[in-house]
């Protein structure tokens, strides 16, 4: 199944494939012609001693001509098949990668990054080996074997017919080897991976192993696995020794004996034996045993590649797509009015992380979401960004349900700033622009200036061309945030979705960030997750979430007056702020003066 599908990938390269195939045929043809020519030379010229210059030039010329054609065509076909394999794998990788781009975030939540990366790169690499093995090795070797037989038939039909017995012998040998080795090969691989897993685990947990004094026990356990691996390897070696090279050598000698007996008996019976034919047949036979060895050695590798292919196709057949636009029409976001109506949501289909969430953000307003970890703040943002499908309740933008908008419309009108500002490898400019070519260099600078990132960017040795390494590790977390702000401002969105960073940054950058945020929010509908309540006191609406529900709502003053959860959070945080600035007395008096003096009782 997987195998047939893999071969389907060859279709676009049919033309190139067949040309290479013809080259292979001709090259193999010339290869097997050489012994035939030599055979004719021996019988027609050497033995009868007809060595006039014309004959010599004739044979020598053909010989040398073939000798030039064969390597050139072989070079051509070898490269062609390699090139085809490369392009096929490129296509396969592109397909998997493209597929992954359109999968929903729910898929990424479930699948570890490492295994996805491995599917796209390592598994496809293993499949590449399959193409190269099949195309270069199997095809060539089989063609060669066929060619040798054709040449033998040309030299001596009867003997060639006798030699056909070799084919079932080879087939049986290969089948036996495949059957025996696949099992052992599997054991070798699994023992090796067990051993490596044990080693890896031991290295990582060595302090525990030592603290619990289990060193010698684990050494024994590792030694046991090591021994089992050795036993499997030796078994593999034995199968190899019994069925591969030594076996084909024995078969080849037996065939040689068959050949000289065939001619010998003719000779003894008084028939005329053509020495050249004998010579040619021996030479040809010498060429078919190595191909058999080659194919047998590729067998286990091929089986491995098919396993990889199955994994890749499994990913290609994945249907957990990101939510897509529904219905016709192309609504446009003009004002940025956001409305949640009775939205409930669950990631796993069992536990609701959001329960009946309803609120409205009028154009230009700021709505802040507060609550502790796991209260559902991020889920609201995930739904608004259409990372997950809304199944219960509706989210509307400008009165139109979210699912009616096209991806382009949503992505160009909604700007998301994540808590962990993700930077890509490239430079500062490319991180602000991303791949959006509508954004001019001028716009990039404007966006950077707008969020006050320009001051630090211009101080960089290469300014906007400063290289950004993996994950932007050379930048401070504050700088990374400013760059992420600039990135969002460069698309000038109608709606701003903020996930405020909890990471602490130095005071100077912190100030820049706060000023930038204030400027960014102006004139835009903003949905913001706030960790520090001090930053959202001017929000039009604050939603306090607890276990997926909105437990309190209102503006800062109203919520303080309620003296509920928000109030306690505020106390906690203002206490923290004040403690840090060493104004402990003020903080404590503020807390202790709170009416429901929570410290009176013990929890």
């Amino acid at each position: 199944m997987a195998f047939r599908r893999l071969m389907g990938y060859l279709k676009p390269y049919q033309g190139k494939f067949w040309i290479a195939f013809v080259a292979l045929l001709i090259a193999t043809g010339t290869d097997v012609m050489i012994p035939v020519i030599v055979s004719k030379f021996i019988d027609n010229a050497l033995i009868p001693r007809q060595l006039d210059p014309a004959t010599l030039w004739f044979y020598g010329g053909i010989f040398l001509l073939l000798q030039v054609i064969s390597p050139s065509l072989h070079y051509y076909q070898l490269i062609s098949f390699q090139v085809i394999a490369q392009w096929v794998i490129r296509q396969l990788r592109m397909d998997v990668f493209s597929k992954v781009q359109h999968l929903g975030l729910s898929f990424f939540d479930r699948t570890p990054t490492g295994s996805l990366v491995s599917r796209i790169t390592n598994d496809t690499e293993a499949i590449k080996e399959l193409y190269i093995s099949v195309l270069s090795s199997f095809l060539q070797n089989i063609i060669l074997i066929i060619g040798v037989f054709i040449a033998m038939f040309a030299l001596d039909v009867t003997l060639a017919a006798y030699c056909l017995i070799l084919l079932p012998v080879f087939y049986m040998l290969m089948q036996t080897y495949r059957r025996l080795s696949s099992k052992v090969y599997h054991v070798v691989r699994s023992k090796l991976s067990q051993m490596n897993a044990k080693l890896n685990e031991s290295i990582q947990g060595m302090n525990i192993i030592q603290a619990l004094r289990q060193e010698s026990r684990l050494r024994t356990e590792f030694g046991k696995l090591n021994q089992e691996h050795y036993v499997a390897v030796v078994k593999n070696l034995k199968i190899f020794g019994l069925l591969l090279r030594p076996a084909t050598y024995l078969i080849s000698l037996t065939t040689i004996v068959l050949v000289f007996n065939y001619f010998g008996i003719q000779s003894i019976a008084g028939g005329a034996v053509r020495i050249g034919v004998l010579y040619g047949i021996l030479n040809l036979l010498d060429r078919i045993f190595e191909p058999v060895n080659q194919m047998m050695m590729r067998l286990s590798q091929m089986q491995q590649a098919v396993v990889s292919a199955e994994r890749v196709f499994e990913l290609l057949d994945q249907t957990e797509y990101a939510p897509q636009k529904e219905g016709d029409g192309n609504p446009v976001i003009r004002h940025g009015r956001i409305e949640f109506e009775n939205v409930s949501f669950s990631y796993d289909g069992k536990n609701d992380v959001l329960k009946n969430i309803s609120f409205v953000a009028e154009p230009g307003q700021t709505v802040a979401l507060v609550g502790h970890t796991g209260s559902g703040k991020s889920s609201i943002i995930n739904l608004l960004m259409r990372f997950y499908p809304v199944k219960r309740g509706t989210i509307k933008i400008d009165g139109v349900p979210l699912q009616c908008y096209s991806d382009e419309e949503l992505r160009s009108k909604m700007g998301l700033v994540l808590q962990d500002p993700f930077l890509f490898v490239g430079d500062v400019r490319s991180n602000i622009r991303l791949h959006n070519h509508d954004i001019s260099d001028k716009k990039i600078k404007e966006a950077a200036r707008f969020v006050q990132a320009d001051t630090f960017i211009e101080k960089l040795p290469q300014g906007y061309d400063e290289p950004v390494g993996e994950r932007g590790a050379t930048f401070s977390s504050g700088q990374r945030q400013l760059l992420a702000f600039a990135r969002t401002m460069a698309i000038d969105p109608k709606i701003l979705v903020l996930d405020e960073a909890t990471a602490s940054v130095d005071t100077e950058t912190e100030e820049a960030i706060q000023t930038a945020l204030e400027k960014m929010r102006k004139g835009r509908t903003t949905i913001a997750i706030a960790h520090r309540l001090s930053t959202i006191q001017d929000a039009d609406l604050i939603l306090v979430l607890h276990r997926g529900e909105i437990v309190e709502r209102g503006n800062h003053q109203e919520l303080l007056a309620k003296k509920g959860l928000y109030y306690k959070m505020y106390l906690l945080q203002s206490g923290a702020v004040l403690l840090e600035t060493n104004e402990q007395t003020t903080a404590r008096s503020l807390i202790l003066n709170s009416p429901n003096s929570i410290f009176g009782r013990k929890l």
Partner: protein, 594 residues
């Protein structure tokens, strides 16, 4: 020539370094190499037989007896070669695998002896690479390396000698002209291939990084609608990979045609000059046939010779890396005359200063604490204040430069390391479980513990009920291939694991951070009941974990800043009280403010 000299030096040096192993496996190597030599000699016979049959057919003098003789000879050679071919593989390759096995065991044993600082200096991935790839390369040197050396020398010399001495030395010289060219060319390709392969690998690793980045940044990509653009970038990277791999293929594809061409020219020269000799009568047609077959036998030794250099060069580098690792000494070792007695009694910390190796600033300074036997000590403070260091020093994961820790009056360095560790039950901050069953994990330090004993400590650690809920109960496998446990469950299993040892001293290094307040309280209660007269050290972020300790130290930047019982510290207007009040409020908020 220079290359040959350099290659020769490498071969000599690596084989000299592996000499101890060759000596140890004397029998395998001597018999294996003897088998190879015998095979090289036996290989001469079938062409010899063919020559006679051909000549006798040409002369019309072949008899049934002759034919039978040569047939039996060839079959005999075939059978012997089959046996010998099997034999040397088992001998040589078997020995090579034993070397791999031996080195892996050595390395593993070495790892178990190394101190934590070793594992800080070396990344897991690097250590794994040494234990897998490097050992593989060394084993290949001891197997394929020996084979290619023995084969290229034995077959090469035996065949050339026979051709020159028994057939025709002039023809031998002529026929061999293309062979050194072939060896030189394949070696030249080898170098080019190596370079280009390296470049192609880098391009491949770029795509790997890109995929990694793409998947990690998927949220941003989706939020900015960058999917198509990402595809374009990936496509460009793939084009680059294709281009560089084709550059590799262009060299790789040269091997076969070069061999075909060189062997073909050699063959042509043989037939051309051989025919002249046959016509002159200095050579029979049978001899010419024999000669061309021998020529075919020379291809492998030529290729093996080129291959040999590759193998030993890699083996040399790998052997050096593995030896460097094996020669490292553990930082922490038993003293001469170390006390072979279980440490017990009061614990005294008297540390003037302790600095981690390679760190510019001390991690602990002026630490003086006494813990009486049976007491509980609480250690609190901010992240990075030195709590974990304080505990790790008691385990002797590092030795103190200036100061001493005593148990029962003797410095911990005076005890045998094994005895010290026997006295301590350690629950580390980062919960380390192994991929085995839950029961085996709990019984990790005492594999012979009964099910009852395991269950008893699981109850104390409040994990028994959780375990029973798993499909296979105590037999549930933990880890990648098994059930995923929550952080709190892992912590409690770690605690049970330490409790099973019923240690003199129990160390909990922030081991209750992921369990809820109620469970924490019941674990602490159970601990107090079960550990009468035994010492417990608890480091914690949540102060409720140390509230009932006999004494509490508050650490900051490696120093003790506050000290006393919970009551005393609450009266004190310091960090402890601030923190305690904040945490009370926090837990209130977590409960929804009720």
């Amino acid at each position: 020539m220079c290359f040959l000299f350099y290659g020769g030096v490498v071969i000599l040096s690596i084989f000299r370094d592996l000499w101890w192993f060759f000596k140890k496996e004397k029998k395998s190597y001597i018999t294996g190499i003897a088998a190879l030599l015998l095979l090289a000699l036996l290989g001469l016979l079938p062409p010899y037989a063919i020559r006679h049959v051909v000549d006798q057919i040409a002369a019309g003098s072949l008899t049934v007896k002759d034919l039978l003789f040569w047939s039996v000879l060839c079959i005999g050679v075939g059978a012997a070669s089959y046996g010998l071919g099997y034999f040397w593989r088992i001998q040589l390759f078997g020995a090579a695998h034993r070397l791999g096995q031996l080195l892996r065991n050595q390395l593993y044993e070495h790892f178990t002896k190394m101190s934590p600082s070793f594992f800080h200096r070396h990344r897991t991935g690097d250590l794994m690479a040494h234990a897998t790839n490097d050992i593989q390369a060394i084993a290949t040197t001891a197997g394929e390396g020996v084979l290619t050396l023995a084969d290229s020398i034995s077959i090469g010399s035996v065949v050339i000698f026979t051709m020159a001495v028994f057939i025709d030395w002039k023809l031998t010289l002529i026929a061999l002209i293309p062979m050194p060219i072939m060896a030189w060319l394949t070696n030249y390709y080898g170098n080019l291939l190596h370079q280009r392969f390296h470049v192609a690998q880098e391009a491949f690793s770029d795509t790997n990084d890109k995929v990694q980045e793409n998947i990690s940044g998927m949220r941003v990509i989706k939020a900015f609608g960058q999917e198509e653009a990402e595809k374009k970038v990936f496509k460009e990277l793939l084009d680059d990979v294709v281009e560089k791999n084709i550059a590799v293929a262009k060299i790789d594809a040269l091997y076969d045609p070069t061999i075909i061409l060189c062997v073909g020219v050699s063959f042509f020269l043989t037939v051309a000059f051989g025919s002249v000799a046959v016509v002159d009568g200095t050579m029979t047609i049978g001899e010419l046939t024999q000669f061309t077959i021998y020529l075919g036998h020379l291809i492998w030794p030529m290729l093996a010779f080129g291959w040999l250099f590759n193998i030993v060069e890699r083996g040399r580098a790998s052997y050096d890396r593995v030896q460097k690792l094996l020669s490292m000494k553990p930082d922490i070792q038993d003293q001469v005359n170390a006390i072979d007695k279980l440490p017990t009694g009061d614990i005294q910390y008297q540390i003037r200063s302790f600095t981690y190796p390679g760190s510019p600033t001390p991690a602990l300074e002026d630490i003086g604490v006494s813990i009486r036997k049976g007491e509980t000590l609480g250690i609190v403070g901010k992240t990075g204040s030195g709590k974990t260091t304080f505990l790790r020093l008691l385990l002797r994961e590092f030795d103190i430069q200036d100061g001493v820790i005593r148990i029962g009056g003797c410095s911990i360095t005076d005890y045998k390391l094994h005895r010290l560790r026997e006295a301590i039950g350690y629950v580390p901050q980062e919960y380390v479980l192994f991929s085995m069953t839950i029961k085996e994990n709990i019984a990790f330090g005492r594999p012979d513990a009964t099910q009852e004993e395991v269950e008893e400590v699981a109850r104390i650690a409040c994990i028994h009920e959780d375990i029973l809920e798993f499909e296979h109960g105590y037999q549930t496998v933990v880890g990648e291939k098994g059930v995923t446990l929550s952080g709190g469950q892992k912590q409690r299993i770690s605690i049970a694991r330490a409790l099973l040892l019923d240690p003199e001293i129990l160390i909990l290094d922030d081991s209750l951070s992921a369990v809820d307040a109620k469970t924490e309280a019941s674990i602490l209660k159970a601990l107090r009941e079960n550990r009468a007269n035994k010492t417990t050290l608890i480091a914690a972020h949540r102060l409720s974990a140390v509230e009932l300790a006999d004494q509490i130290i508050v650490m900051d930047e490696g120093r003790i800043v506050e000290y006393g019982t919970h009551q005393e510290l609450m009266e004190n207007d310091g960090w402890y009280r601030d923190m305690y009040e904040r945490q009370q409020l926090e837990s209130l908020v977590l409960e929804g403010g009720a």
